[in-house]
Each structure stands twice: as C-alpha cells, then as structure tokens.
C-alpha cells in the first residue's frame, strides 16, 4: 500500500473512532470516502454554524486528495450553492489560505473541513471570490449581507 493510502486509512480510522463523541457537537456532519475502492475521493456534509446566517442549512462538499498528499493540500469544493465572500458562487471554489499556500501536513481532512466550517462564520471580505457578498460587508451593511446569505441558504441548502 502506498503512503497516501496508509495515511488516509489512518485518518479514516481516527474519524470512525471519534465519530460517536464528536458528531453531536461539531459542524461536520459527515466525512467519508465516496467509494470504498477509492480513498482519493471523499465527500463531506457540514451544518451551517449556529448563530450564523447559514444556520439550518446543510452543505455538501467534494474532496479530491492529490496523489502526493499530505505534501499537497486536498482540493475541496462546495457542491451545494453557498453565498459567501470567499466562495465562488458558480463553482463552489473556496478561497482559504490553508488550501493553498499555508497548507501543512499537520492538517487532516477533518481539521481542514472544520476550518472551512469556521470560515463560513468568519468571512474575509478583503480577498473575495464573491464580490457582491463581500461588498455588502465592506460597506458595513451587515443586515443586508445576513439577509442575502439567509435567503440563499434557504433556497439551496434547506431541502
């Protein structure tokens, strides 16, 4: 077995061991390989953080693990449409430093997903992929921003 599979298998074991204790509290509802035969494609489901305009929504993500993981970060994208200053509305692409330059092998798939959950509630409007959402925040229109997010969450993430 190659090094990538060994590491992913270990992450999967840790996930299964911690599942019972962490599922209730964490925003990460599901994190698992799409298919038992291929450890390089994963899917994740996260709940919108409580108290955020995403609350009540369920967001699906796909994770593509590169063959030289953990030297390279996994590619993670939203499948569910999400309105967020750092997520491209049309493609689900995520702008987060640890998915690009600030990646380190210390991150696991689980901790990376939790970082994305954290990003939902802590947008970074200075490096936007969704300029409309970012502009609302940059103009200080918190109410307008939250209403917009709540609307899209209701449309796309609450079926």
């Amino acid at each position: 077995m190659d090094a990538v599979s060994r590491r992913l298998l270990k992450e999967l074991q840790d996930l299964q061991r911690d599942r019972a204790s962490s599922a209730a509290t964490s925003e990460l509802e599901e994190l698992a390989p799409m298919d038992d035969a291929d450890l390089l494609s994963w899917k994740a489901t996260m709940r919108g953080p409580e108290g955020s305009p995403y609350e009540g929504g369920r967001f699906h993500l796909t994770i593509q693990v590169p063959s030289n993981y953990p030297l390279q970060p996994p590619k993670i994208e939203f499948v569910t449409r999400v309105c967020h200053p750092n997520v491209r509305f049309a493609t689900g692409e995520i702008c987060l430093d640890i998915l690009k330059t600030a990646w380190s092998p210390a991150w696991t798939l689980r901790s990376t997903c939790l970082a994305i959950a954290l990003l939902l509630n802590h947008p970074e409007p200075s490096s936007p992929l969704n300029v409309d959402a970012a502009n609302l925040l940059r103009c200080g229109d918190q109410l307008g921003y939250e209403s917009l997010v709540r609307m899209y969450t209701r449309i796309y993430a609450m079926q």
Partner: protein, 398 residues
Amino acid sequence: MALSPRTSVVFVPRNAYGTSYHGLVQIGQTEHVVRVDLGGTPEHPQWRGARLLGSSALRELLSSQMDILQAKLELCESIEAFTAELEDVLEKQQQQKTVESSQSAVSLDKTPTVHASFYAGLMDELDAVGWDFVFELDDHSVVLCIDDSSGQRHTVRAIMFADFPAAPPRLENDYGVALRVERDVNGRWLTGALRHMNEIVARYQHVWQVLRHVDESLWVLDAEATASLRLSRRIVLANLVLLELTFHPERPETLPSWRFLGSEANIAPLRSRWHANRALWSTNATTRENLEVLLGFPPPTRPTETSESGGFECGICYAYSLEDELTVASGEGERTSLVPDVLCANQHCGRPFHRPCLIDWFRADPTARQSLGVIFGQCPYCEQSISASTLASRTPRM
C-alpha cells in the same frame, strides 16, 4: 532470429469445367494438399456453396482461420482471388509464429546452460552437508538451517551460479554477518558455510538471548523487524520519549551504548539520572531490572494493542516504520525499514518525523532552504525551525 518460412500456394483445375481444384500449399519445408469443390452443377458452377477440403495437418495449422477461409472462399469470384486470400492468411500466421518463437528464444537465452556437473556437484555437497540441514532447495539456491540450543532456527541461503561447483556460491543470511566463502579440506563449499554459520550461532547465542528478553519484557518499538541481528533496540519510556540501546555483540550483559530520543525538556532529567546511576548497571541482572535501577522507575511494558507505537508515528505519513525504498531499489537485497528519527526541538511539540518524509515536505514547501546537505524549514505542526540532513544515514548494523 529465424527467417520467416516461405509460403506458397498453387492451384490446378481437376476438370475442364473448372468446378474442382487441387492445390498444393507449401509452408516452409512441408507441403499440404488441399481441394476446392465448387457448388452448383457442372454446367453452372457457383462459388457460393464452395467447400475447402484439406489434410488434417493443415486443418490443425489453420485451426482458427479455417472458418474465415471458408467464408472468404464463398465470396471469391475466381480461383486466383482465393489463392491470394489463402496466401495472405498463411503469411500472417507465419509472421505471428515467428514473433512468438523469437520471444521464447529470447527467454531461453536468459537461462544460462546448466551442465550436469552442476547437479552432480550440488548433490555431492548436499550429501556431505547432510539432508537434515537442508531446509529449502530449488534449481539455483539451497537454504541450510541450524537449530540452536534454545530451539531458534537460523538459516543461511547459498545461491549457486551456473559454473558451480567450480565457482563459489554466494552466501546470504539474516544476521548482517558476512560468511566466509571458502572450500573445506575436501573441496566442498556448503559444508564450510554451515560450519561457519555454526560458529556464528555459538558466538552470538548469548546476545540473541539478551535481545529476545529485551523484546519480550520491554516496549520495543520495531520488534517486528528484529528477526535480523540488529543490535540496537528502541524502547519506549514515556509518551514521545525513547531510549535507544545498542548491545555489545560479545558481552551483551554489560552496559549497552545508549541514546535518549525526545524533546530536550523531557529527556534531560532522565539523562542526568542515567549518568548518576550508570555504575549501578549489573551484569547479573536482566536488562529490564537494570533499566529500572538506572531510570528510577519501571519502564512500561508493551500495551496489548499492537498498533500502538507510543505516539511515535511520523507526523507526515502517520506510519511508524517506513520501508526504505532507496535501499530496496538499489538492489542490495536488504530491506531496511526506517523509524521516525527527526524530532521537533520544541518541547511542547516534540513531533517525530521520518527523515525522508520531512525532506519531501521541505521540497514541497517554498519557505524551506537547503545548504550543504541540510534542509532547514519549519515543523509542520508548531512552525519551530527544524532541519534534516539529506545525506543518507543508516541504522547501525553488526
């Protein structure tokens, strides 16, 4: 490579109406007789319904093509057209055969010719050694085994070359001890090898017993790899604290050479205690008893969960032992596995890494810098600076 055998096809009519033909098919040196009978009446011969008849030898030769030829025959308009078809099929088949036979010829070339003297010599040697000591035997190697007084089996593999017994065999064993390759007084190789192996077993019997005791009574990390005679053991003392002991091959009961592994804050008190108590090492006590005296606490025993590696897995690949692919690839035939040997110096972190994993990460990390065979970068966990030598280092062997 042989030239492709010549094929030729000739047909002659058997009657004036041209409703039946005799044919001669030549493939290489052999000739085969075929017959083509047309359908219809003698007045109105028809190619539809024509039949191809041939000797059983030819039929066998063309087994897979026979049906195709029959189908083609019925579509032909003249005997000339069919002649061309048949020639085409035969030529293709011959080419295929030539390729196949040349391939098998190549594979045969790789096996050197073995003379009867090889087997005569080998049998003579094995008779002299005694068949009780023969553990495995195949056409170019023999494994001899010796059971020591404690019942452990030791093996030595002799690999014979084609010019054996004139040329010496190559001897391999698991112990990292080079065996002398020399003839005994009767000019035999294997008896000499077995005798030398016996000497080694007798000589190192003691150290093997001590090591086995260490493996059983202490939490030794790489115990799976201890079949070979590595004289060093890594013993878990606490989370992320290891003691590496290297035993003396002939006096294993004396104080082994030692090295603590872990973050400085954790190992400093252990090291000073060890220094202070060093003289208390007793040659009559077991290693475990001695460790307890020198460290001031009983060392932990191996947990029942076999997967636990004392938190000493590499922080990058998450595995404890890493097969050294370089060694395997270079064909030394000796598989070494690496254990995490670079530790983060930050006492709150102290993460262990395999040197190759860390080097791979530094190569992927644009902030890392290399200078004179050492790469400097940051610990992936705590960002403390950490370095790794790119020059190969090997675990000490006997």
